[in-house]
């Protein structure tokens, strides 16, 4: 027999087999395993910073929640929804409006995507921060590490401040808010809702740390957090907590470092680049991120100048409620941040869209529908008609801090100083003919009015309403009083339990200590027609 030959063949086969090692299988892709990350960091030590940067990138990352839908872009979705659930920002009632759940308030649904994203996003960031913080030894002393830790903690504070007001009125300090998660949290499945007070204790602790440790720290980009941002965040937290004097003091530290945008600067569509000098902190959107999905970006929704957007292509422009717009004096440049009934705004003068003028009425199939009355032109695009949608988004502007300072002063007994701060800002930077008492509002309401106009579209809408204990007023009893679509036309009392969000089903299923919000009911068209908020009356 020629068995030798046979064995030789078999042996050769087995030898070939032995070359393959099941242990050597690792991805060669955009995904890296922990071992590959370590390897990279050893070869290129500077790559270690990438996970720190990653926390900031996550704030507005398209498709961050994996839904792969046009309403999936992390914190910037949360900000957008805060405005659409408020009184002043609206999108038409059409099939193209991916945010109609906000307009009609059907977002209180445990199984919907929108509330899921708004709940999950901050917790992902919190988890990243906690993991990041756990990576440092307790006795870390080197300055660079301290700066990273301080920024991470400030981010965590930011995340909680975005989360808490959705689930509890921040004025209800002992009311249950959301689960508190820190690096020490072990049992996520029995983690009850912590009170607003307890969570804000952590927020203030984190921000105190950041303020202290970031002294003298120079950041490489305004996407990161330096001491002024930390002050600004603490100013917001103090405002939430009613620590008005502290809020004013913190805001003053920011104001000292930045100059508001001038009338000239806001006389054209802007608020699109992190380089704008009035931005204290911003989200640096890159083309590398938007390429993943250009329509899941703020540029696709709140900006009216993108050639690849829901706003322009589907006439889903974000408009201002004319209840508020009517209250803006004609001498205020901000009156022009929205086109009027006749689609006119001076901000459009001289602008062209791919060479074509009369942008307001311009119609390009699949790309650009004519503007609607009160469409915003506040937010610009780096190139009109762009399809990259990589405009940056402001997370904190000095103008907000001026208004925080004014509010802080006004509510801590320094009304005169507050009025002066407000008057100085508006007169210099927005409306030369401004008078604080011009509308006859209380100083507090006047400041809120200014916030509503100045910060429109930047994520403060419903949070301000709830913080200030105001009702949600979208119309004044008649269809003609507003331009909001009938389906979204209703008012809600300040204490309406439906203003609080519901927990997503996954959280209810897996965290057994959660007791959901269950007050209120879905608003009905034209309900509460007589409610007024003091500003748009």
């Amino acid at each position: 027999m020629k068995l030798n030959k046979i064995y030789l063949t078999l042996a050769a086969g087995l030898a070939f087999t032995a070359c393959q090692d099941i242990d050597e299988i690792v991805p060669q892709s955009d995904r890296m395993l922990e071992s590959q990350v370590k390897e990279t960091n050893t070869i290129v030590p500077s790559r270690a910073e990438a996970s720190f940067t990653g926390m900031f990138t996550s704030i507005g990352k398209p498709y961050a929640s994996g839904y792969n839908t046009p309403d999936d872009f992390a914190f910037l979705v949360m900000a957008f929804c805060n405005d659409l659930e408020g009184a002043d920002a609206l999108i038409p009632d059409t099939g193209y409006n991916w945010f109609s759940v906000c307009g009609e308030y059907s977002s209180r649904n445990a199984n919907y995507r929108n509330p899921y994203i708004r709940y999950e996003t901050p917790y992902k960031l919190i988890a990243n921060v906690n993991t990041f913080l756990s990576g440092f030894p307790e006795d870390v002393t080197d300055e660079n590490s301290i700066h990273l830790i301080a920024q991470a903690k400030a981010l965590r504070a930011f995340a909680y401040m975005q989360l808490v007001p959705a689930f509890q009125f921040v004025t209800n300090l002992d009311g249950p808010a959301v689960p508190l998660v820190t690096p020490e949290t072990e049992d996520f499945t029995h983690n009850p809702r912590a009170s607003v007070r307890d969570i804000y204790a952590l927020v203030i602790e984190d921000l105190n740390y950041a303020v202290e440790k970031l002294e003298g720290f120079k950041r490489s980009s305004k996407m990161y957090i330096d001491q002024t941002v930390a002050y600004g965040l603490r100013a917001r937290a103090n405002l939430d907590l009613g620590n008005y004097a502290d809020a004013a003091a913190d805001a003053a530290r920011v104001i000292a470092q930045y100059t508001p945008a001038s009338i000239a600067e806001v006389s054209k569509p802007s608020f699109m680049s992190i380089d704008e000098h009035n931005w204290v902190w911003g989200y640096d959107m890159t083309a590398a991120l938007t390429l993943k999905k250009t329509d899941a970006t703020p540029s696709s929704w709140i900006r009216s100048f993108s050639g690849d957007s829901y706003s322009a292509a589907c006439q889903c422009y974000v408009s201002i409620n004319k209840l508020l717009w009517n209250k803006i004096p004609a001498t205020d440049i901000r009156k022009q941040w929205w086109v009027d009934e006749g689609l006119h705004s001076t901000l459009l003068d001289g602008l062209t869209w791919k060479g074509k003028g009369d942008i307001a009425n311009l119609s390009i199939n699949n790309e650009k529908e004519p503007f609607l009355p009160y469409t915003n032109v506040k937010f610009g695009c780096l190139t009109i008609g762009t399809t990259t949608n990589d405009e940056d988004f402001p997370l904190m502007r000095v103008e907000e801090m001026i208004l925080v300072r004014a509010e802080g002063l006004a509510k801590s007994g320094k009304e005169t100083e507050a009025a002066q701060v407000l008057s100085d800002f508006v007169t210099t930077y927005r409306d030369p003919q401004y008078s604080v008492n011009g509308r006859g509002l209380s100083l507090a309401d006047e400041i809120w009015f200014q916030r509503r106009v100045e910060l429109w579209g930047e994520g403060f809408g419903i949070y301000d309403i709830k913080r200030l204990g105001k009702p949600l007023v979208r119309f004044h009893g008649t269809p003609e009083s507003t331009n909001i679509a009938p389906a979204f036309r209703f008012n809600m009392a300040a204490d309406d339990g439906w203003l609080l969000m519901r927990f997503p089903q996954t959280e209810l299923d897996t965290n057994f200590s959660i007791e959901d919000n269950n007050n209120g009911s879905l608003p009905v068209m034209d309900q509460n027609p007589t409610l007024r908020d003091g500003v748009t009356d």
């Binding site: 027999m1 900031f56 199984n111 590398a288 879905l522 009905v524």
Partner: protein, 1077 residues
Amino acid sequence: MKKIRLFFTAMVLLIFSVAVSAQNITVTGTVSDESGAAVAGAGVLLKGNNTVYTMTDNAGQYRISVPANGTLTVNCLGYQDTEVNVAGQSVINIVLIEDKQMLEETIVVAYGTATKSSFTGSAAMVKSESIEKKISANVTNALAGTTPGVQIISGSGDPTSSSPTIRIRGIGSMSASNSPLIVVDGMPYEGSISDINPNDVESMSVLKDASASAIYGHRGANGVVLITTKKASSGDAQVKFDARFGVNSRLIPQYDVITDPAEYYETYYKMMYNQYYYAGHTSAESYEYADKYIFDQNNGGLGYQVYTVPEGEKFIGTNFKLNPKATLGYYDGTYYYTPDNWYKEAFHNSFRQEYNVSVSGSSDRFNYYASAGILNDGGMVSNSNYKRYTGRVNADYQVKKWFKVSTSLNYSHSNSQVADYDDETYGSSGNIFYIVNNMGPIYPLYVRKLDEDGNPYILTENGRTVYDSNNTNFKRPNFVGNAIRDNEVDDRHNYADVLVGKWGAVFTPVEGLTLSANLGITDDNTRSTELYSQFGSASSDDGQVYVEHNRLFTVNQQYLAEYKKNIAGTEHSIDILAGYEQYKKTSQLLYGQNDHLFNPLIGELSNADGTEKKTVKSYTNEYMTEGFLARAQYDYAGKYFASASFRRDASSRFAKGHRWGNFGSLGAAWLVTREDFMKDVSWVDMLKLKVSYGIQGNDNLGTRAQWYYPYADQYTHSYNSSTNEYSMQLAFKGNSELTWETSKSFNIGTDFELLKGALNGSIELFTRKTEDLLYSKDVPLSAGNPTGVIPVNVGSIMNKGIEVTLDGSIINTRDVNWTWNLNLSHYSNKILSLDDSVSEEGIKQSYRIYKVGGSLYELYIRKYAGVDPESGKALYYYDEKDDDGNVIATMQTTSDFSKATQYEDGSILPKLYGGFGTSVSAYGFDLSAQFSYQLGGRYYDGSYQALMHTQASAGQAWHRDVLKAWTPDNTNTDVPRLDGDIQVAQAAVDRFLISSNYLSINNVTLGYTVPARLVKKAGIGSLRVYVSGENLAVFTARKGVDPRFAMGIGSYTAGSGLSTGGYGAMRNITGGITLTF
């Protein structure tokens, strides 16, 4: 059969060809079988002298000249050899006894074949005769309705991706794959099944229980489908040619929607009126509201006016009727608007043609089969078709007595054009099927103007038809762009080149011992190009192009040693197999996209001049398993059979230390009819009892990148070119403890043949318990896990079921043969345990619940309590709770949907499913029909829910059932008033559950085989012509529903509810001709 007999006889005669001796007498007679039917083609020979022979004619008669004291041997395939002493008789009639052993089916099983009687496991086999009848590019479609225990779920008619979902004996996994392992000619296959030409397939075996499939170890947990390709079956070369031509058409009709534009407007007007009226306004205000907004797409209206109403008159009157003076068609000075029937415009019949030719032959050392096939299969919408070219060579060569090599090569090239749809995403305006099924009947498809004479015409622009994509003075409130246009102007092509090869060497160094080494590869290179036209949705980018190259390379190595021995002088025989197998898969991608196409028609990156959104990427992912296998089979006297198998496998999906798993099985069978005490039971021809138990594994968490390395944390990264910084994020949280999911199967059954073939069948009972389930466990969102889930091994599930197969012949004569078959399966699915962290209340989702004691297909749904006859509002059930959360009253009704309770509402799985069929052949004609059915299950008809919208959903189609909505005059109805209520929105309500019962006519074939004597002169061996209807009809509970689309669980936007976005099933009617020579 007859052909085979002739061949066999000829072979025998050939072998024994020696001269005849003297002293002969002439003997004549008839050879018949036990039933008295003549046996044609039987060989009659003189024993001991191979040159004296003859063959029976068609009447079974023979005439032979033999010595008067000789002995006649009569042989015929399928009968026992029979000897008769001539003893001077001149007339000898011979009755042949059927040879059970010979007749017995050989079935293809794991790593070899087995006779049906010795097989201890559970398997079903489909042979080429029934596969060839199917008009389908995908061979696994032949399993529908023909194999018990196998569920084929496919309502898709897409010619380019017709792979059905196959479920064998229920659903055993929660998060891991439930798909069976496909093995082609002994090698695991992960390519597309459509790349295998069904005409090349000799048989398909479905291995269902552990005894049959445990030797495949980790991959056999969900059953195994073994596909065996053809080999030569005769010594003489045979050429077979088959050509078929057919027509494809849409099978599933449209739902019964409102098609009259006037009726649609009236209904919508009424809805708007009610919306305002029931919000507390007066009747007059409500008319005013509806008048004001009905055409206003930004305030909940329809956008389009397609009727001309006399100046100053109301469009719809206060009686909710269209103004009788209104005329269809509206001209606004620029454009003319009239609705089009999108459904009719989009769908059309198409042509299908297929040609196959094969050549096969064998000699004592060489066996050769080669084939070539061309298929051109059209779709039911434009730019949807599939062209496939296949070529196969299977060759075996006996090099030496102890050494044989075999080679099998299959090459397939396909070129498909893919329609624009995605049946897994809800509500995309770019999905041609979704918009056609959901577009309201008032919208134009085309842009029209009026010519000088006032006649409307469809606008064209540079030779292109101008489609209505909101580019007129009206805007639709829904459906951006125009998906029919996009499907015309865009271009999506897939080009696949697939080489599947297998090389084997078999050594037989000593008798009974076989050593074999096999190497199998699949090399699948698929290039996809997608061009999104500047005349379609990509206008703002001046056209976009996406090019993708996917390379799938798998290599499988097998080293097997098998020893078979009949122990001399005893009735013991053994068969032992041992081996090593290694499988490695490499999946690679190269991808690019860009925009700004210079030439709008060229879908290649080099034609794209964009600079800002250029993207390229590539990756490689690998997967590997290896394992040792062993099997022993024992047979005593062809009566008692036992088998045992063992396999130890490792998978790269698990971390070191958790990688290896042990699997195996035990089985036994008893052929009762071989016992002496059964000898006199004449009505039982065969009776076998069998039992098996085994353990199998599953590591297949899915095909997405993360599931290649689920044990590990995974990070993704990006770069910011303005800050020159990289950023990295955790993208997946792995679990290093993750290991095999195991399923433990028990099978007990009987196979029988009764009454001389009049009733055959099998009955089997099985249980399948899956443990350590691979499960993507939800973690609290507050934990901030990047995907919200972590993979764990947790919980167990039990599937229990029964399968019955029956077949038999009703008439079995020489000229007429009529047979029937029937199979039925039932299984239940129950969750036995879940993770400790899951409360007793289970894992709840918007429409389903996973709970101990429930099934994987358990509904968790709000319940509809009908319409409040007073108000017309929809009512829902809820359980009232006190402040402590205790239920104080159940099944109360409320019209506040947010208060409605989600109830557990049982499993949706069918109680019974299966198929039946019959076939008759008579005087050259053959007629067969095959049906499948499903009974006792439910189906969530989310598409119907979408068509029954009470909320605005402006512009979307309405089912005619909304006309039954409550009104003050029509209070006795179960359709709530149309008032724009958004409460329910997309939530699942039991109101939209319907029966998933169906009966489908899968195939009816009528053929005629021209008598051999007529074609012989033309040199033709046989000639058959046929017509075949595939997927002829489906009878369901509601017009428009195809319960074969999904398992039945779902919602408006998920699961079965996505059906209107799918490529509906197609009907095919084909005529063909088969020639052999």
